[in-house]
Amino acid sequence: MRRSTDSNSVLRKAFGKSEFYLLLVIVVVSLFFTIMKPSFLTFTNIYGMVESNSFLAIMAAGVLVVLISGGIDISFTAIATVAQYVMATIVIHWGGNMFLAFAIGGVVGIALGFINALLIYFLKTPPIIVTIATMNLFYGLLIFISGGTWIYGFPMWFMERNLVRFGDNPGITIPILVLVISFILTWLILKHTALGRNIYAVGGNQEAARRVGISVLKTQLFVYCYMGFLAGIASTVQANMMLTVAPNALMGRELEVLAAVVLGGASLAGGTGSILGTILGFGLIVIVQNGLTLLGISSYWHKVFVGAIIVISVGITAYQRKLRERKGAIINVEE
């Protein structure tokens, strides 16, 4: 087996990473859209693109953490919807402030995530099954109790989105701020806390993690609660943007988010993934959708493109793995 001895080249390291290729694709795609439609590469367009997708991106950070731990969560949009209803009802009836609104969203999310984690740990059932079940459970109960009505009439303070303005330009808005904070928080947890490293360890080899004394239960509790927390926060962001709460506003987006995170290099088998990858993976999908909209292409085609991107990227990853395995078997034949 050959061993590469020079690890000095930063560039070579970058070439080996999927993030690098994603960035490359994003640059190429953006260039294409800019040439076709110069309005693509404008501050307003990019800002709008980021803001209008912020709530999905926030949930993507949660999904990333769940995937790294070796789990999966399908129920987060249901959690978000429930959190949104609870938050809106309380805020409209009893008033409050922005901080309280987010706190309510987050707490409801954590509570529902906690239920997920307990079920997954104690039933020893694959998380995909558990969370499909809880998705139906949470959503079904919500529709039963709320009657599926839309909620309008948020208080005035809730309608303000801008925190800081720079002249006529949109300044820092709540969605953008929350998005940035969630990403930084997730990055800090994953990279610089013991908890984050435990999440990677559990995702990489659960049995080994148990043997070195990492509590799998605690790790899973955190992971699903964090997912719930971000779902609740994201739903508050979405309500803040839309100013209405509808039962079907978030439902059905879960696979889209999941796909973006996987595109960003997180493995469904657990153990791998990074916040940078998630930003790039999510970014690529958003850019393609936005670009196609600008070009006036029907939104049905968006799905086709997104599907194709995912298939191609998964294909490339599989091909690279095949090449690597092939390399492992090289024998230096004496001539």
């Binding site: 013991a194 435990n198 080899n205 043997r211 078997a329 024998i331 034949v333």
Partner: protein, 489 residues
């Protein structure tokens, strides 16, 4: 570490076994599958607690409630056969993980992690790139990482479960160096192994278990392989060498077979009923070559003739149809569907034969076929419906062989058929191989062990760097000669 004695009743996996290890000693624990080795290890490491009456002492102090965390505190570290590493994390993080978990710090200190890893590796005189992901390392390198992790957790006793099962001879040598280094640092090593050669090379003392009882503790220097396998099994294994092959009916002939970056100009003849061994270091191209015969690694050049007719198998199915069967080395990964029953595994290669009139699988036909093979190879199973993962290694290997024999192959390729199985099971595999050859099946066996080639084949080929460098009548070789030839001296 002194005087660890314990009693274990109930199912009586261990029957009043006394066991002791001294500081910095290299000790071997040997015994067949089911002899109680793993139970003993699990008690030492605190996963099981001994039955009342069992007593464990560390440094002369009695330890009452043995728990995993207790044994870790006493400096006992187990390296399991699967190594328990995190493939997705770097070398440094893997090495430092137990100490990180133990200190309970909430933040991750990457610099300290790096330093710790480097410091630990220095202790045993190895160096690996600390930033590489463990998934990119070879098995031998991973083992080093596992050992470093144990040392970093302040191990005073490192228990290694089957550490050499998947290592080549060279890699075993460097492992032995590391173990000597541990000894210099007064860290004791407990080896659990089937491979008898290594035991002799490295251990000072050997404890032998059989059927849950201790047979005895012996100085490694006073043991011979013969004696050890007798102690382990209670039976004598005496093999007569096979005579040089005398017939002239060629079944398989390979002419100038080459594949870029794999092997070059391979010439080989296998006769009817001949047992041919191919040996050589790992990475000599032997597995790649036989995979070509089995259609899974098509050659670029040269020809394969089966009974005089040129064949060019491009898939495993094509090779099977031509009459070539291949039993892979890694039966767990490539040879068996572990969760499925014995019966379902055996019939996999010949589903067509057990179809009923309306082209559905016939349970009756399945039963008759399976019974026949189970009897023929005397596979010991509670029922043909038992899942394969409940069987011992030897029986699993027999299930794989049965599966392939059922297609009536002309040539049977066995890749390292006795790796990881105990002496008695090995014996039965050798018997099966000899019987098959006597029935006229040609056998190609890949092996790492010189003894296996010398005693259980007619002809031995040595491969090195993708070429065949020697062909010998097996019975004329001695082990020493063969090892020297394999290592190219």
């Amino acid at each position: 570490m002194k005087n660890i004695s314990k009693r274990f009743g109930g199912v009586l996996a261990l029957d009043s076994v006394d066991f002791e290890m001294e500081k910095g000693e290299v000790h071997c624990l040997v015994g067949e599958n089911g002899s109680g080795k793993s139970t003993l290890i699990k008690i030492i490491s605190g996963i099981h607690s001994p039955d009342p009456g069992g007593e464990i002492y560390v440094d002369g102090r009695r330890i009452s409630h043995q728990k995993s965390s207790n044994s870790v505190r006493e400096g006992i570290q187990v390296i399991y056969q699967d190594l328990s590493l995190f493939p997705n994390l770097t070398v440094a993080e893997n090495i430092a993980i137990s100490s990180r978990v133990e200190t309970g710090s909430r933040l991750m200190n990457w610099k300290e992690t790096e330093k710790e890893a480097v410091r630990t590796m220095k202790k045993i005189g190895v160096s690996l790139d600390t930033r590489r992901e463990v998934s990119q390392l070879s098995i031998a390198e991973r083992q080093i990482v596992a050992i470093c992790r144990a040392i970093n957790a302040n191990a005073r006793l490192v228990i290694m479960d089957e550490p050499t099962a998947s290592l080549s001879k060279n890699e075993v040598q460097s492992l032995i160096k590391v173990i000597n280094e541990l000894q210099n640092r007064e860290i004791a090593t407990l080896f659990v192994s089937h491979k008898l050669d290594e035991i002799m090379a490295v251990a000072q003392r050997v404890t032998v278990l059989r059927d849950g009882k201790k047979v005895g503790v012996f100085d490694a220097s006073e043991l011979t392989r013969q004696k050890l396998s007798y102690l382990m099994t209670g039976k004598e294994f005496e093999y007569s060498k096979l005579p040089p092959y005398s017939g002239d009916e060629v079944v398989l002939e390979v002419r100038k077979l080459s594949r870029t970056d794999n092997y070059k100009d391979i010439d080989l003849k296998v006769h009817k009923g001949e047992i041919v061994c191919i040996t050589g270091l790992m990475g000599s191209g032997r597995t790649e070559f036989v995979l070509s015969l089995f259609g899974m690694n098509p050659p670029d050049d040269g020809e394969i003739l089966l009974e005089g007719k040129r064949i060019n198998p491009r898939s495993a199915l094509a090779a099977m149809r031509a009459g070539i069967a291949y039993v892979p080395e890694d039966r767990l990964q490539h040879g068996l569907v572990m969760e499925q029953s014995v019966s379902k595994n055996i019939v996999l290669t010949f589903l067509k034969r057990i179809l009923s009139k309306i082209r559905l699988l016939s349970k009756v036909k399945e039963r008759t076929e399976v019974r026949r093979w189970v009897d023929e190879l005397s596979i010991k199973i509670p029922s043909v419906d038992s899942p394969v993962n409940t069987l011992s290694g030897g029986n699993q290997q027999r299930v794989v062989i049965a599966k392939w024999l059922a297609i009536n192959p002309k040539v049977l390729i066995l890749d390292s058929p006795t790796v990881g199985i105990d002496v008695a099971a090995k014996d039965s595999i050798y018997k099966i191989v000899r019987e098959l050859a006597a029935e006229g099946i040609s056998i190609i066996m890949i092996t790492d062990e010189a003894e296996e080639a010398i005693y259980h084949s007619n002809t031995t080929y040595i491969m090195s760097a993708g070429r065949i460098v020697g062909k010998y009548n097996s019975s004329e070789l001695t082990e020493k000669e063969l090892y020297e030839k394999i290592n190219g001296q």
